[in-house]
């Protein structure tokens, strides 16, 4: 009785490994888009625009902190496109010649906001209120790899807060994790983008918007990568992002238009 069961279990597991992985349909061009976590919902919708039934283009999204994605690309990850939440990560790739010349373009802007759990009773109306004793934990992205964490650091530095506030910081791996920490009330406040606050409106409320000039402008660049396996399909995705329909989708999620160059 024992042997058949063991044999059958092994057979099922083996079949599982053969059957379950997604089949690679060669007729479809998969375009790998590495994009900042804050772009998740908007890009997924634009992806649906781009992958029309007529075309054979399908985006495969790889969302994460811009710094992590940049490190992956530096390490040779086979991506076609990179969209980051700050110029810095794109500049690093540009400097080492990893971008396809002439494809880099800014396509959206965002605002930095301070959010608190919606059930929070603490009175928080500005970044300066983070010094209050009622605020014991503040979630921000890890400044090493997360652009929203770098913007948060700039804002906190400009708010003239005492050093003690730094001890309240909890570092998250990406901006959506900051949002999650605040939404679950694991922290008392968090610094994210306005667009992320709008994703979970029932669970977080915006307590303050970062004052103008307290951080570098949040501008999102996108570029085709030099080693892109599908450069033409990648350019088509960029075109979809910049199209009226694409920009409308971004606007619906709260992204702002890129400010006109001075």
């Amino acid at each position: 009785m024992r042997k058949p069961i063991a044999f059958l279990t092994a057979l099922v597991l083996l079949l599982g490994t053969l059957v379950l992985p997604p089949s690679m349909a060669s007729a479809v061009d998969i375009v790998v888009v590495s994009a900042a976590a804050s772009l998740k919902n908007a890009f997924e919708e634009i992806g649906a625009l781009y992958a029309t039934p007529a075309s054979a283009l399908r985006p495969a999204f790889n969302f994460g902190a811009s710094g992590d994605l940049m490190a992956q690309i530096k390490g040779g990850a086979p991506a076609d496109l990179f969209a980051s939440a700050a110029a810095k990560d794109m500049d690093l790739l540009d400097a080492e010649g990893s971008l396809l010349p002439g494809t880099r373009v800014d396509f959206a802007a965002n605002e930095v906001v301070l959010v608190v759990p919606s059930a929070s009773t603490a009175v928080v109306t500005s970044f300066a209120d983070l010094a209050k004793p009622a605020i014991t934990r503040i979630a921000v992205g890890n400044p090493k790899t997360v652009p929203s964490g770098r913007y948060a650091e700039e804002v906190l530095a400009n708010a003239g807060l005492p050093e003690a506030v730094r001890l309240k910081l909890v570092l998250a791996e990406n901006v959506r994790q900051v949002l999650d920490y605040v939404a679950r009330a694991e922290v008392d406040a968090g610094v994210i983008y306005a667009t992320d606050a709008a994703i979970r409106p029932q669970e977080v409320k915006v307590a303050a918007v970062a004052p103008v000039g307290s951080h570098k402008p949040v501008i999102y660049p996108i570029a085709v990568l030099k080693g892109a396996p599908h450069p033409e399909a990648a350019r088509a995705f960029v075109a979809a992002v910049r199209s009226d329909a694409g920009q409308a989708i971004l606007a619906r999620y709260g992204f702002k238009a890129v400010p006109a160059a001075k």
Partner: protein
């Protein structure tokens, strides 16, 4: 090269691992004893249940820990209501995570060690009129000490190396919950390779030492 943050991460890791191992021993040795010495229906099921964290990926363990101990968690919510304190994002959370993943090591090795103790010696102790508790303390455990010690060393090493569940429950807070595995992860993610080199060498050395110690202890006495 051995800068402040590396030393603080090492100090935190050692502290967390040491406290976890003490707790693991306090819970694991009695648990291993009962699993070894008492036959009851469902014994193997209980054994499988406590061994589960050994085979579950740390992210699944972390998920369950958040579910139970998070601020809105099954136990975390009442705890927060009564004390205003949550274990998330504290160094104690690192201890909890390490405890949960290291406990199976202790239970399994203790159970195995106690099962190999010669029953006739225990029976002799009972016929001399000693209670089970006395026998356990003065006969059973001393005879099983090598296996139990090996279990403790393995638990310590596992507690030192805990990463996934720790990151999920204790988070990444420099100076407070930045155990060595977290610090290494952060360093590599941020491209700080020199910093990572030092930490990795230190960590590999300590783990190798712990394993060597465990091997020496489990070798049967000459």
């Amino acid at each position: 090269m051995l800068d402040g943050s590396a030393l603080s991460a090492l100090g935190l890791s050692l502290r967390v691992a040491f406290i976890s191992t003490v707790l693991v021993a306090l819970v694991g040795i009695p648990a291993g004893y009962f699993l070894a010495r008492r036959a009851f229906s469902g014994r193997e099921l209980i054994d499988a249940l406590v061994t589960l964290p050994l085979v579950l990926p740390p992210t699944v363990v972390g998920y369950y820990l958040i579910l139970v101990l998070g601020r809105n968690g099954f136990l975390g919510a009442p705890l927060y209501r009564w004390t205003g304190w949550s274990v998330m994002f504290t160094w104690q959370a690192a201890v909890v995570a390490s405890f949960v993943v290291a406990l199976p090591f202790m239970i399994k090795t203790s159970r195995a060690a106690i099962e190999t103790v010669d029953r006739t010696l225990l029976d002799a102790s009972y016929t001399l009129g000693h209670s089970e508790f006395w026998t356990a303390l003065r006969v059973t455990l001393p005879l099983a000490r090598r296996g139990i010690a090996a279990g403790a060393v393995l638990s310590f090493a596992r507690a030192m190396g805990e990463f996934g569940a720790t990151l999920m429950l204790a988070g990444n807070i420099p100076g407070r919950t930045n155990t060595m595995p977290l610090e290494i992860y952060s360093a590599v993610a941020g491209g700080e390779w020199e910093h990572a080199h030092v930490l990795v060498l230190l960590f590999t050395g300590i783990s190798a030492l712990a394993l060597y110690g465990a091997n020496r202890l489990t070798r049967s006495s000459p």
